[in-house]
């Protein structure tokens, strides 16, 4: 692979690599190991986590922070929510992205439509939080509804809804998922659109000549061809969703049944370091399967090269 004609000293590669490797060692590898060590310590990070165990209550010894991370009701809520986030927003973003990619491909104002759908990618989660809090805003006094959604509902004769502070946690979470889909559908649309455009038109034309309708052309021909890209979009989305933090932090701060893992971790970062770090370890353990999928896919790509 490497051109042998280019001579090099044994040390030359390391000269080029040194800065990057040192920085990554200090900022990624060392802290990851240290996080694991700290997860076995108490809230100040100085003594073993076992010291906080109370007699007569269940205790996992040095792993007591993990007892919290895996059994506390708040954490169970966060784990449930993260699972739902993945189950609903990953198909949501990929599905919406795919739909937009297919539909905009057929109109003349494709570029403009795509830019608008893609634009939220440039907006921070915090900015998106403000934008959508305004959409969901509920005026509970006597005044007019100034949030678009509740104004629309009252105009149609309905009762305004508390979208983010509802008694039903499903409503609150759904409101957050909508924001996520709004933010990321453009990402999925763009990579799926590129894949769709790479599908050879001859195949599609041949199918159409043979009498296939557009629906069949899509599901029987296009979709199988772009399936690898759909997988890439889905794995990327899964990683991002797993780490969801900013949106929840800004919009609900995990209240009313919307807690997620990363927000729990942030809440404890000052008050109870051991717990915070145990939650962080939980987060990386959850990403490992995707990491393996990515490395495997990379290997396959390298074979083809």
């Amino acid at each position: 692979m490497v051109p042998k004609i280019m001579k090099q000293g044994t040390l030359t590669p390391w000269f080029y690599l040194a800065a990057a490797l040192i920085i990554m060692l200090v900022f990624i590898v060392y802290p990851t190991i240290n996080t694991f060590v700290l997860s076995l310590k108490d809230k100040t990070g100085t003594r073993s986590a076992a010291v906080d165990c109370l007699p007569g209550q269940s205790c996992w010894g040095a792993f007591d922070n993990y007892r919290y991370a895996l059994t506390d009701p708040e954490m169970l809520q966060a784990l449930r929510n993260n699972a739902l986030w993945i189950l609903l927003t990953v198909p949501g973003t990929v599905g919406a992205g795919l739909m937009f990619a297919v539909l905009t491909d057929r109109v003349r104002y494709e570029r403009l439509a795509k830019t608008i759908v893609f634009l939220p990618m440039a907006i921070s989660f915090v900015g998106a939080g403000v934008i959508w809090k305004f959409v969901y805003y509920l005026e509970s006094g006597g005044g007019a509804q100034i949030g678009v959604l509740n104004a629309l509902i009252t105009r149609l004769g309905g009762q305004p809804v508390a979208w983010l502070t509802n008694r039903s946690w499903i409503v609150n979470n759904t409101s957050l998922w909508v924001v996520w889909i709004w933010l990321w559908a453009g990402f999925c649309m763009t990579i799926l659109s590129a894949a769709l455009k790479a599908v050879p038109t001859e195949i599609l034309e041949a199918a159409r000549v043979d009498g296939a309708n557009e629906w069949q052309v899509f599901w029987r021909i296009m979709f199988p061809i772009i399936l690898p890209t759909v997988t890439v979009a889905a794995t990327t989305m899964t990683i991002n969703v797993l780490k969801v933090f900013d949106i929840v932090f800004v919009m609900t701060n995990g209240l009313n049944g919307t807690e997620v893992i990363a927000n729990r971790m942030f809440k404890f970062i000052v008050t109870n370091q051991g717990r915070s770090m145990a939650i962080a370890v939980l987060l990386i353990v959850l990403t490992i399967p995707i990491m393996i999928i990515n490395v495997r896919r990379f290997r396959e790509q390298e074979m083809i090269r």
């Binding site: 090099q8 990624i28 802290p31 990515n294």
Partner: protein, 409 residues
């Protein structure tokens, strides 16, 4: 135009409806914030942003005209004993809970309100809340009519943007309070120096730039060196190290924050700009190396061989050949890293708490009761301008970088 063509155009309508509907849904939330950022505090609270184009009817005017104008007159002066245009009279009834008992009383042996529907509502004690809600616009209009209440300013204004820039959270605007000399004493000098106020978005904007620019350049520089080695040099462990890099791309940054913050406080780097630059560099590197190595590795081998035969060493090949050719890849990477750092909240809160960046400053402005939408919308837009411009200007490179395998975060 033949029938076939008409049929085709009609068949296209559902497609256009769906595409346009989706574009509108995607645009509307942002548009709402943009429009609201130019409306006065009261206007934002009183009416939806979408009413901005309709001629603003003074709130309550319609309700007043329907219920009261037949006796009190359009200008409120017709009943001499109860002149509603007199501020002293009107001020009494600007609160609905004062107005309701008055309306329940009879006037000269007659019900105060003639309209039977209104009368029924007012007298029904079980529907008090409903009655109060219905009276609210009228009460408000009494204030406007007499001048006792605060008139709602419906003209568009940039005062929200100014307030956000200097971080002014008074009940009046910064400009007004400065003109009357009632701005919070000491903190605001009402000159350009207010732009450096720590709670303002102008200062945060500067902080964001100070964080983002070096945190974009540094990782690309280091990554370019490493990527060159991975692409064109031979060394032990090259393959597995690169595979490891692919894995490192998705390490959640939450994993590393606390140990790094501790390390920084030991080294005296806590809360420093250098600290946050290095952190973002560390986190940007795996993806940056991955992307650049794939790009450099894809360049024709002949190019490198011929420059080497011409007597160039690796250093020259790197600067004279590899770098100029990788400009497109570097551009994609630069935009990615720029947007990523600019939009980050978590790292900034923890590593740079004393110099709030834009995202952090916005979270400081959020009022849970929703009382400062005018300020918040302007602030949100201030934070979005730069990334949106960068994004629109370099969209092509951004997409290219994304397609090269974006697994970042």
């Amino acid at each position: 135009m033949n029938a076939e063509r008409i049929k085709r155009i009609l068949g296209q309508i559902p497609l256009h409806v769906v595409v346009i509907a989706m574009v509108v849904v995607w645009l509307l939330p942002t548009l709402g914030v943009f429009v609201s950022s130019f409306r006065s505090r009261q206007a934002v609270r009183k009416s939806g942003w979408w009413t901005v184009l309709s001629k603003p009817l003074t709130p309550g005017q319609k309700e007043y005209a329907a219920a009261c104008a037949s006796c009190h007159g359009k200008d409120g002066k017709d009943v001499v004993t109860a002149d509603l245009s007199n501020p002293e009279v009107a001020a009494e009834y600007m609160k609905t809970n004062r107005l309701l008992p008055l309306l329940r009383q009879e006037v000269n042996g007659q019900p105060h309100v003639q309209d039977p529907e209104w009368q029924a509502l007012i007298q029904d004690k079980s529907r008090t809340k409903e009655a109060l809600d219905k009276l609210a616009p009228i009460s408000q209009y009494l204030g406007t009519l007499s001048g006792a209440g605060q008139a709602v300013e419906y003209n568009l204004t940039v005062s929200n943007w100014l307030d956000a820039l200097v971080g002014y959270k008074g009940t009046e605007t910064y400009q007004e309070d400065c003109a009357t000399g009632t701005s919070k004493s000491g903190k605001f000098k009402c000159d350009a120096s207010d732009l450096l106020n720590r709670e303002g978005m102008a200062r945060a904007f500067l902080n964001s730039l100070l964080v983002t620019i070096p945190a974009t350049i540094l990782p690309i520089l280091f990554a370019a060196f490493a990527a060159y080695a991975f692409a064109w040099l031979d060394f032990r462990g090259r393959t597995w190290m690169f595979a490891l890099l692919v894995g490192l791309q998705i390490v959640p940054l939450q994993m590393t924050l606390v140990p790094i913050a501790q390390l920084y406080s030991k080294l005296g780097l806590g809360g420093s700009f250098i600290g946050i630059w290095l952190f973002h560099t560390g986190f940007g590197l795996p993806y940056a190396i991955y992307l650049l190595r794939n790009f450099l590795g894809g360049l024709p081998r002949d190019l490198f061989e011929s420059i080497y035969l011409d007597g160039a060493n690796h250093w020259t090949a790197f600067w004279k050949l590899a770098m100029p050719l990788s400009v497109p890849a570097i551009a994609s990477l630069g935009i990615f890293q720029f947007l990523w750092v600019w939009n980050d909240l978590l790292v900034a809160i923890i590593l740079l708490p004393n110099n709030p960046v834009l995202t952090y400053q916005i979270t400081n402005l959020i009022d849970p009761k929703g009382g400062n939408w005018h300020l918040l919308t302007a602030a949100a837009f201030l934070s979005m301008i730069v990334p949106m411009l960068v994004f629109l200007a370099f969209q092509r490179y951004f997409i290219r970088g994304m397609l090269a395998g974006a697994v970042k975060g």
